[in-house]
Symmetry: C2
Subunit: 188 residues, 2 copies
């Protein structure tokens, strides 16, 4: 699976459970959200605009994805809503890795480019480095309709948070659904 | 890292946060526990006894580990305490994989042997199959003092639960502690 196939497999609506483990406080926080992921062509205006922001030739973009989320976390009563556009730009010599442009980082509200690497095990690893922060996220499909994500965050060089999300495709499975998804997808 | 090195690195006391995502109910449950892991030599009486239970020559055991846990989960008020012994038996031709004997399965209270595989990325994968249940667990170290675990459980062929544990070494770090563990280990 390459990153475009990974994004294509991610397209759709997902019901997501998220947990954050705050390692220093030994506390955890749960949350729920709905995710919508839309695959964008490299000629989509949103992709071209994001490339322009980073001063990158949009011809080098592999594709794009628009991710929209709407959820709640336990520790506050506020709605967490948002949307971002992601654009992978492969390294010229290594097609399985490259830069991942995004409108907005998950941890900071400014544009930030991360790195991606698509592993031989079909796992997508995203690494984002901020000034005082480092985040590594691993995403993989247990099946076409169950996507899992794990991330770890370092602040000032020390591990501060580990997160885990389980995502089940909503509203009907894709045609390639295998029998092993029966229990999970029947609940969505 | 081979499985004996993985067990040796796991030895000690750990403070663990656990979350279970019940996929069909879209509900999650948190828990906390303390884990104690003791590395056992292949000549330890507990290792020999477990091999005898499975009718396996204890000479083929690589080592053993005694895991003791004491914790609580949110949905009940009961203490979850227990202890088990694990013994890896490598496949003759493939030393990085084999059987994992255990006194007690995590999901069923009867002796059950699973399979292990130590990946080239230093990730330990444990697969246990019961009559109506399949569990796959992945364990890895983010650092010598931060161990993460993820598991997924299928019942009757459908995904039913995804779990995630973050474990921080308690009571002083091992000598090989790197600077990057400062934040997490200072809290233990």
């Amino acid at each position: 699976m390459n990153i475009v196939e990974f994004f294509a497999q991610s397209a759709g609506k997902w019901s997501s459970l998220r947990t954050s483990h705050h390692l220093a406080f030994k506390q955890q926080e749960g949350g729920k959200s709905e995710l919508q992921i839309e695959l964008l062509d490299k000629t989509d205006p949103a992709v071209i605009q994001l490339c322009a922001l980073y001063e990158i030739d949009p011809e080098t973009a592999l594709c794009g994805a628009r991710v929209t989320w709407d959820g709640t976390m336990e520790w506050d009563e506020e709605k967490h809503e948002g949307s971002t556009v992601l654009v992978p730009i492969a390294d010229p010599e290594k097609p399985n890795q490259g830069s991942l442009l995004r409108e907005m980082g998950y941890a900071e509200k400014a544009p930030v480019a991360g790195r991606y690497e698509m592993g031989s095990n079909d796992e997508l690893v995203l690494i984002t480095e901020y000034e005082t922060m480092y985040s590594k996220e691993r995403l993989w499909f247990e099946s076409p309709n169950v996507r899992l994500r794990h991330s770890i965050l370092k602040r000032f060089g020390g591990f501060s948070m580990a997160s885990f999300c389980s995502e089940v495709r909503m509203g009907g499975a894709k045609p390639q659904e295998s029998q092993t998804d029966a229990a999970a997808s029947s609940s969505s």
